[in-house]
Symmetry: C2
Subunit: 498 residues, 2 copies
Amino acid sequence: MTQAFNPRTGEPVGREVPDSSATEVSAAIARAQDCAQWLADLPHNRRAELLHALATALRDNETSLVELADAETALGDRRLTGELARSAAQLDMFADVLDDGAFCEAVIDHADPQAVPPHTDLRRMLVPLGPVAVFAASNFPFAFSVAGGDTASALAAGCPVVVKAHPSHPNLSVRTAELLSATLEKVGAPSGVLEIVHGHEAGTLLVTDPRITAVGFTGSTRGGRALFDLACSRPDPIPFYGELGSINPVVVTEAALSRRAGEIATGLVGSFTLGAGQFCTKPGAVFVPAGQGFADRVVEAVGDTEPAPLLNAKIRDGYLAGVTALGSAPGVRTVLAPRTGTGYSVYPAVFTVDATTFVERIDLLAEECFGPSTVIVEYSSAEELAGALAALPGSLTASLHAEPVDPPAAELLATLRKKVGRVIFNGWPTGVAVTWSQHHGGPWPSTTVPLHTSVGATAIRRFMRPVTFQDVPDGLLPEALREDNPLGIPRRVDGVLR
Amino acid sequence: MTQAFNPRTGEPVGREVPDSSATEVSAAIARAQDCAQWLADLPHNRRAELLHALATALRDNETSLVELADAETALGDRRLTGELARSAAQLDMFADVLDDGAFCEAVIDHADPQAVPPHTDLRRMLVPLGPVAVFAASNFPFAFSVAGGDTASALAAGCPVVVKAHPSHPNLSVRTAELLSATLEKVGAPSGVLEIVHGHEAGTLLVTDPRITAVGFTGSTRGGRALFDLACSRPDPIPFYGELGSINPVVVTEAALSRRAGEIATGLVGSFTLGAGQFCTKPGAVFVPAGQGFADRVVEAVGDTEPAPLLNAKIRDGYLAGVTALGSAPGVRTVLAPRTGTGYSVYPAVFTVDATTFVERIDLLAEECFGPSTVIVEYSSAEELAGALAALPGSLTASLHAEPVDPPAAELLATLRKKVGRVIFNGWPTGVAVTWSQHHGGPWPSTTVPLHTSVGATAIRRFMRPVTFQDVPDGLLPEALREDNPLGIPRRVDGVLR
């Protein structure tokens, strides 16, 4: 049974949702598998219409969905309304990606007897993998949950989705799934295109079921690693796209700090306390020149910020354990001590450490602490900074605050981009735009596969694989590969992009 | 120590090559890591020149390399000369891929305050992963070895390569590495761009070393699975691109068999005995209508085919064990019994089985048997064929022999493409062209990651990961992403491919 709690009070909210039995999980996967061919064969434009219909369903039910989400997450109407809009826009974007057509990567090489070695007619495109399991996250009840990016990109790829609901917002999950399923039925889809299951055991069953072809996951490093290991140890391993923990380093140059210390401190506080610090892109380590009093500025910028509720008791307990470990580590100074409020609420916490100690205690200090805390790492020289950055694990993002003419900037950017999937100049990592060019991924432990993104147009690629057709008659080819290009999509023909 | 043997005689050939010590392996990886930034920063056109230089070095040393290769592999001058040319052409092709520029997938989204949610300037491209380990294969001493496709695509991606030499052709491996290293030095590359190590233990050290960022592997399912498990169980798992075992089903329709039985039998024999059956694309299961005497046609086409040497004693023993297991399985009829010749030579072997028994003994009958054998699976109805195809594991290829007007063809193609990375119409799977559109990959167990290919232009993508640059000033951006497109490469700008 899953029971949600109101994070503002800690009181139960909504009805209990039963765990899915093994039989129910298997039946959900069976339905997904049964409709896989239908979805794969659906013309791109019809698949795009389906995504638009889902987006419209979200928008049409904004009030009730946001209300339900707020009761279970306490993220607030404004944030949740924005997140719903973003999730709907994400579905629309994947429809645009389908309409554009480049996503299927059609490539044609006509027969060439002069080539070394000679070759016959070869045509390649991407096709859907098959049923996909999606693990919803706690911190984005819309954008990384039932109707989130993994679901949107898998459906766009042509893969049915079985969502493992997050136990932190079960009633919203059930309601969203009902809504999307009803919409799918209305546009003529068979059952199975979108399924939902509940409970820890259901998740394990999904990852190990031979009919599941890939997994999308957003969550903790510990939970993600366990599922990743399961996926890899199957008799037939499958891709596991996990977004796990990220420290999201921020580097401030001497020039930037001397000119804009106040502005940077305010920006930092806005970023690490946004959504109560429950973003995978929360800046968790901020490298600043020592002896400039930056920590004081940060404390000042925090001011009398209200406590904010964390999503559930487990996250609250994890946060408190994390900040307690930080605060008691030798060499770490607490400049703003962690405090709790009503329900699951906590106040922001801030720590400082010198760059040498940071490297010595990297396992603790570079581990994600989910919640409104950050560590200010003070460096006394370029060498000390370089040493600390070299020790960093992979992250989703890194940010650099520098001046327009700032000699260390180029090398710092070059160093940072080796570690991360997105580098940000004079900005903050929270806020992940859904665009063609977005990359929301990075080296381990920020993700399990650094080649892929869970946000942006290319997220679709995680759920597709190439097939090459050799000498197949035109009438038997998929439309995307036919000689006269009936879909009018961009293709590479005989080496030339058209 | 690695000692090669002449497959024609079983006598030792060439000098013993010592196993690399742990210190030597570590030093090789260190050199690779030290030059990783140099190679990553090398402009695409200079990286292309480097690949052309390597291709030229292969061609300039054709005679001595082919002689050395033939002594250790017995594949014959003609085949080896062709394979060397193909390997050189492959290096040239990746140079073309670099010159084309689309491989780095440059995408630019200018700031858009009207978007939902609004976004700032975002620019995405692919960058090299870092040092890559490449496990050479036995059966292609050029095309899947030191100078093979994994090496070529990793270097093209901008990743230094540490090759684990295959013990079956150690002297050729050493010589090839020396030649390529000397060439790299001549064009001004630092040491470390291409390294070579020897011995089983060296392979394990490569896969588990924290400085190695990805692995390319071609070999057996058992060996590949062991290394895949190692790569996945690292504290920081890395992508392991393994090409393992593949049965490569061939389906012949009733119409095709009634019209072209002789031609199909001849084609099949040519394909399954090519290179003594030592191709990952060897057709290992051929589905034909029962009662048409196709097996007799195949025996006739084999005729008095000379025995051909397998590459080494281990492969010979594995082949004999495989065909013995096939021959003694209940329901399997031996139509051409396995026989050995001098050295490691063997004769072709052919078996038949009915489709129902095939499904019952799928684990044995659909397992790759490396060498010149094939299993003819006789089906008595469309349903029986469908059942057998549904039971097949993943393969690199599937081939369909059908007539121009042949009602079952469309559905058979649709069924086959679910299982494989390449479908071939009225052709044979052996012979893998190196083109933009090639896909040499497929669902497990044919590869460990169905999204990727080890042959063709997109093989480069295995060794690159995306990075998005947010609001980074033009002067600090990589050239591929600068506003004026100084490289003149194809890019997607504000959603439009240019």
